[in-house]
C-alpha cells in the first residue's frame, strides 16, 4: 500500500490519497493522471492493466487501486 501511495503522490502531487474515496467521481483524477498512474503501477508490479480495468470502482481510492493491483497480481 505504501508503494502505491508513493506512486500516486508522485504522479499527482497535492491530492490527499489517504482519505479521498471519490478520485474519479469527483473529477480529481483526469485521464492523463490515470495513464501516468497505470504506467507506473504496471512497471512497478509487473502487471497488465487494460482499458477494461479503467472503471471508477477500480480508481476511486488508493485502497481500490491497491485491490486492483492485488487482483491482477494473482491473475498473472
Amino acid at each position: 500500500m505504501e508503494k502505491i501511495l508513493e506512486i500516486l503522490e508522485g504522479c499527482c502531487p497535492g491530492v490527499d490519497f489517504e482519505t479521498e474515496t471519490a478520485l474519479i467521481d469527483n473529477g480529481i483524477l483526469e485521464s492523463l493522471d490515470i495513464v501516468m498512474i497505470v504506467g507506473e503501477l504496471s512497471d512497478e508490479f509487473g502487471i497488465e492493466i487494460t482499458v477494461d480495468d479503467l472503471t471508477a470502482e477500480n480508481f476511486n481510492s488508493a485502497e481500490a487501486i491497491f485491490n486492483l493491483v492485488n487482483k491482477l497480481k494473482e491473475e498473472e
Binding site: 492523463l32 495513464v35 504506467g39
Partner: protein
C-alpha cells in the same frame, strides 16, 4: 426540415401527441416512426446510408455478442482467449468498414484534391458524394456500441427496429450529442409517462436554445462571415474581433442547437448526454476540452486515448523513456503522445482540409506542453493557495485559455491554411484596413448592439448560475409568475426581433450540421 423552423415545432407537437396517446408498450415505435420520418424528410439517399450503417452494425453486434462454444473439459482461460481472438477478428474489420464510409464520404474529395495537387494534374476526377445528416455522430455512436458489445459491457439489442431507433433518434441526428447505448436505450424503449415537469423543462430549454441561435449566433454570423471572407482587406483589429466573435457565435450556435434538441428530447421524457459546461469559464485548455463538446471528448477518451496510451507499443515507449530521461519526465511521455494523437483526430473530425489538421496540431501541442508544465503549475498553485494572488491567477487562467481558443478558431473557421496564417499575420502585425469604406457600424448599429448585449447578459447570467451549481430552469420555475412572465417576454421579444426586425434575416444552418 430545419429544426429552427415552425415545421419542426409542428412535427414535435404531432409526434408528442401520438407518443403520449399510444399505449406505453409501443411508444418506442412512435419514436421510431417520428425519427425515420424526420430523417427521410432530410433526404432519401442519406436515409439509405443511415439504414445501411444501422443494419451492418446490428449484424456485427449480434456476432460480437454471441457466447463462445465450450468443448468438453476446455480450460476457461483458453475459452476466454479464443473468444477474445474471435471478437477481435469481427470488431476490427467492422470498425474499419464503419469508419471507411465516413472517410470516403467526408474526406474523399480532400484526398483526391491533395493527390491531384501533388501530381500536378487532375489524375483522379473529383468525386461528389452527399454527406448524410449527422453522419459523424451516428458513425461514432455505432462504433462505440460495437466496441462496448465486444467488451461485454452490455448484450447486443436483438430487436432490429429498437436498435434502429437508438441509431436514428431524431434529436441527436442534427449535431449530436454522441449518445451511449447504456444511457439512452433504456429511456427510448421504456415509454415515458406524461410528466408536465419534463414538458416545461424541455420547452424552457428549447426557448433558451433558440435565443442563443437566433439572437446571438445568427446575429453575429454576417459580420464573422465578412471577416473570414474579406480578411485580406480587413484590419488586424477587425480580424481579431471577428475571430473572438466567431467563438461566441460557434458556442451559441452549437450549444443553442444542443439546448433546442435536448429540450425536444425531454418533451418525450428522454434525457440525452450533455455537451457543454460553460466552456469559456475554463482556466486551462485541458479544462476547456472537458467542458466543450463533452460527448466527443468522452468518446475520444474512452475509445482512442486509453486504448492508445495503454497499448503494449506505448508501454515500450515508456520503458525507453525511463532509460533515457528523468523519472518525472519519462512518465509523461506516453500521455503526451496519446494526447497529441487524440487532438489530431479532433482536428480531422472537424472536416477535411489542412487548416483543420493545423487546428488539431495547435491544440495537441499546447495540451501536451500543458502536461509537461503541470508539476510546475501545481507547485505555483500550492504556494498561492489561500492567498490573494489565487484570484488573479484564476482570472489569468481564464484569459489565457480564451486567447488560445480564439487563436485556434483562426484555423478551424478558415477555408485554407494560407487563409489562417494570413489572418494571423494581419492581426499580429496590426495591419491597417485595406477598404476605406468599411465600418463596423454597418454590422453593429445601436439596435443590434443593445439586442446582443441583452442576450449576452442573459447568457452570462445563466452560465454563472450553472457554474455555481444552480439549475437555472429549476430556479426560474420557483420564481413568482410575473417574474417568469417578464423573463420569458424578454426572451421571446429578443428572438422575434432577432428574426423579424432584420429584413435580411436568413436562418443559418447549424455549424456542425454537416460534420
Amino acid at each position: 426540415m430545419s429544426v429552427n423552423g415552425a415545421y419542426f415545432l409542428l412535427f414535435l407537437l404531432i409526434s408528442a401527441v401520438f407518443y403520449y396517446a399510444a399505449p406505453k408498450k409501443i411508444r418506442w415505435f412512435v419514436l421510431l416512426c417520428a425519427s425515420v420520418t424526420f430523417y427521410l424528410l432530410n433526404g432519401i439517399k442519406a436515409g439509405l446510408y443511415l439504414l445501411a450503417t444501422a443494419l451492418f452494425t446490428y449484424l456485427a453486434s449480434l456476432l460480437l455478442g454471441k457466447k463462445p462454444s465450450v468443448a468438453d473439459g476446455e480450460d476457461p482461460a483458453s475459452v476466454k482467449k479464443r473468444d477474445k481472438r474471435r471478437k477481435r477478428a469481427i470488431l476490427a474489420p467492422a470498425l474499419i468498414i464503419n469508419f471507411s464510409v465516413l472517410g470516403v464520404l467526408k474526406y474523399g474529395g480532400f484526398f483526391v484534391t491533395t493527390v491531384n495537387t501533388l501530381i500536378g494534374r487532375t489524375a483522379i476526377p473529383l468525386p461528389s458524394f452527399i454527406l448524410p445528416l449527422g453522419i459523424s455522430f451516428y458513425i461514432f455512436q455505432t462504433s462505440a456500441y460495437l466496441i462496448d458489445t465486444a467488451k461485454g459491457k452490455y448484450p447486443p439489442e436483438k430487436n432490429p427496429l429498437k436498435y434502429l431507433l437508438f441509431v436514428c433518434w431524431f434529436p441527436q441526428m442534427v449535431q449530436g450529442p454522441i449518445n451511449r447505448f447504456d444511457l439512452l436505450s433504456g429511456q427510448l424503449y421504456a415509454g415515458s409517462p406524461l410528466d408536465w415537469e419534463n414538458i416545461r423543462t424541455g420547452l424552457l430549454r428549447m426557448i433558451f436554445g433558440i435565443l442563443k441561435k437566433a439572437a446571438v449566433a445568427d446575429a453575429l454570423a454576417p459580420f464573422v462571415a465578412d471577416v473570414y471572407s474579406n480578411y485580406q482587406s480587413r484590419s488586424g483589429g477587425v480580424i481579431l474581433l471577428g475571430a473572438a466573435l466567431y467563438c461566441l457565435q460557434l458556442y451559441c450556435d452549437f450549444s443553442g442547437g444542443i439546448d433546442l434538441l435536448c429540450g425536444a428530447s425531454q418533451l418525450f421524457g428522454i434525457k440525452m448526454s450533455e455537451n457543454f459546461r460553460q466552456p469559456y469559464f475554463s482556466t486551462s485548455l485541458a479544462d476547456f476540452w472537458r467542458r466543450w463538446h463533452i460527448s466527443l471528448g468522452e468518446w475520444m477518451k474512452d475509445y482512442l486515448f486509453y486504448p492508445i496510451a495503454l497499448s503494449k507499443r506505448f508501454a515500450k515507449i515508456t520503458k525507453f523513456a525511463k532509460k533515457h530521461m528523468s523519472p518525472g519526465s519519462a512518465k509523461r511521455v506516453t500521455p503526451c503522445i496519446a494526447t497529441f494523437i487524440v487532438f489530431l483526430a479532433v482536428g480531422i473530425w472537424q472536416g477535411p482540409g489542412w487548416q483543420n489538421i493545423a487546428y488539431g496540431i495547435w491544440n495537441g501541442t499546447l495540451m501536451s506542453l500543458g502536461l509537461i508544465w503541470a508539476p510546475v503549475g501545481a507547485r505555483i498553485r500550492k504556494r498561492l493557495n489561500g492567498r490573494t494572488a489565487a484570484v488573479p491567477l484564476l482570472i489569468w487562467g481564464i484569459i489565457r485559455t480564451n486567447v488560445i481558443v480564439v487563436i485556434g478558431r483562426y484555423f478551424s473557421n478558415s477555408s485554407s491554411l494560407t487563409q489562417a496564417f494570413t489572418m494571423l499575420g494581419r492581426t499580429f502585425s496590426f495591419a491597417p484596413s485595406g477598404d476605406p469604406k468599411y465600418t463596423l457600424a454597418a454590422y453593429f448599429d445601436t439596435f443590434m448592439t443593445v439586442r446582443l448585449a441583452v442576450a449576452c447578459g442573459l447568457l452570462i447570467f445563466i452560465s454563472a448560475l450553472k457554474e455555481k451549481g444552480i439549475d437555472p430552469i429549476e430556479s426560474f420555475c420557483r420564481k413568482k409568475w410575473y417574474v417568469q412572465f417578464a423573463v420569458l417576454s424578454v426572451c421571446l421579444v429578443i428572438i422575434v426581433i432577432g428574426i423579424y426586425a432584420n429584413s435580411n434575416y436568413v436562418p443559418i444552418s447549424y455549424v456542425y450540421e454537416n460534420v
